[in-house]
Symmetry: C2
Subunit: 328 residues, 2 copies
């Protein structure tokens, strides 16, 4: 691993992020990353966070049109409520703050506590829980479904609504709608190695893959002998469509888990698009890349979001963050 | 690997790229990726290309403010002259075409031949050779220095000059200046696996790293026991500064080789910035990410470019490609 010692991995990364992104305010000591121009007068702020190791999620999504602040925890470990309260206080303009929470037990508990503490300080808080992963219900770290790729859709689309000046209850309801209309399924071709452990989190032989994987190396649905890109796309897209059944155009995220080359991800996208075509699902927009990762895990996930006209317009709205940028 | 069969990896990726990027024209059969709005009246066009496996380089850099077209070869194999001529013909507005060529023997020979063929067709061609890697002179695939990370600087800055409407000889001289002022040094923490071979290109034990690596798994300067991020930054930056000796601010590219998590890359950037500070080298801009990769290799490279006022202004100019976007 390209690190000094496991204990300083997150702080080192935040120092490096501060140096590369002068448009962000990075509080290394307290582990809060904030848009430099926050708070934005009259606008709702979005705060998210979670364990580190999923970069660019979340700090790489801080900027105009997406998150207002992010709180990175230790690797694969929830941030603490103090970070969340600090972030909320730094970005609240008086219009309130939406917490975007991936459904992991630690994150849920800590964001709940942070919401109470922030409200005690007079900050209006709303929360949206992201739970899009159809692979398993109840996993190692979660009661109910895990939050994975749809987090990107929620943060982008709700962030655009906040940027437009929508009130908190409206931003919250849009975020909720995005989550309700999104589903994901992931596959691991290798395990990941956490800095603290220094060895793979589980054993996966070179000729095997794990279907229905989460983003922390936790177990999936089943292990199989290696499959082709075509077979994996059939299985992953059908798993999502079994649950989502969209009756209109979808947003597609073909996401890499960290170590899968972009060459392979684009090839996999061709197969995902083929399956969607065969199933009669029209595609509105497609994003391909390593966005919601699991350290150095090889593998991929597919997230679909059934987009109505409003969601599509908000998806297309300008965004300007380290990892996601388009428009003006 | 997330593939169907090795024989279709490049074609599959191009089909997936076409689906994700309607702003590009992707000729899958002939392996040419072109800006949809090319040719641009009165403007010089930039064409680059090389072996696949380095994504997002080059096709991910096609768009306003950077490349006009890219020609991907097979994995780690030069594209053929026919692709380059086809690309040049597709993008030439009459103002001429600049070929951006990484210094590998196959690429150099094929771009030379393509230049002759294109000129026979009445297209004015200029060429710039990128050879920024200070690690080794004469490697497995190269006479002289290899072309690595500086390719991104050359394509971005010369692309901005072309977008401004500068004439061919001026775009060429700017490209040449960027290359002359850029140096790189890379480190591998693992080997990469090509689809055709299906196993690592060389043996590197978990506790070892290879210093001075190229982007094809070719040998570097030496093998050592694992070092810390701090030690690697000292060694890599000093190797670059031994050769570059900048007397003004630099552009910094902290580049991942494909499988190194962004968390680690940002941490490494903190160390790179520390060394530059200690050596008295001011930093103008920093870019961190997986841009010039080597399939699923873990590792990183540092590229510095001594930027004068004009190069800095061109670096900051708007760019709108799949992998690099900023500005209007």
């Amino acid at each position: 691993m390209l690190i000094n010692v496991p204990e300083t991995v997150v702080a080192d990364a935040l120092r490096g992020m501060a140096a590369a992104h002068p448009e962000l305010t990075v509080d290394v000591e307290n582990r809060v990353v904030v848009r430099r121009d926050a708070p934005m007068a009259g606008k709702v702020a979005l705060v998210s966070g979670g364990g580190s190791g999923h970069e660019p999620l979340h700090a790489g999504f801080v900027g105009p049109g997406m998150l207002t602040a992010a709180c990175p925890g230790e690797v694969f470990t929830s941030p603490v409520p103090d970070q969340m309260v600090r972030a909320a206080a730094a970005v609240d303009s008086g219009a309130g703050v939406l917490f975007v929470v991936k459904n992991y037990t630690g994150d849920v508990l800590n964001f709940d506590m942070a919401a109470e503490l922030a409200e005690d300080e007079g900050i209006q808080i709303a929360k949206v829980l992201v739970d899009d992963d159809v692979a398993v219900t109840d996993s190692l770290y979660t009661a109910g479904r895990r939050g994975t790729g749809a987090t990107l859709f929620v943060e982008k689309i709700a962030g655009a609504a906040a940027e437009e000046g929508r009130p908190l209850e409206r931003v919250e309801s849009i975020a909720r709608r995005v989550n309700e209309r999104s589903r994901s399924f992931g596959v691991a071709l290798s395990a990941c190695t956490t800095p603290a452990k220094g060895s793979p989190t589980f054993e996966l032989a070179p000729g095997e893959l794990e279907l229905g994987i989460g983003i922390h190396g936790e177990p999936g649905r089943e292990r199989r002998a290696m499959m082709t890109s075509r077979e994996i796309a059939d299985l992953a897209v059908d798993a999502v469509l079994d649950d989502l059944r969209p009756d209109g155009p979808v947003l597609v995220l073909v996401n890499g888990m960290g170590a899968t080359p972009l060459l392979e991800l684009y090839g996999f996208n061709a197969e995902v698009q083929r399956v969607l075509g065969e199933r009669g699902v029209p595609v509105a927009r497609t994003l391909v890349g390593n966005y919601v990762t699991s350290l150095d895990m090889a593998g991929c996930s597919v997230t679909l979001c059934q987009a109505d006209e409003e969601l599509l317009r908000l998806w297309d709205a300008p965004v300007k963050t380290p990892a996601l940028r388009w428009g003006r």
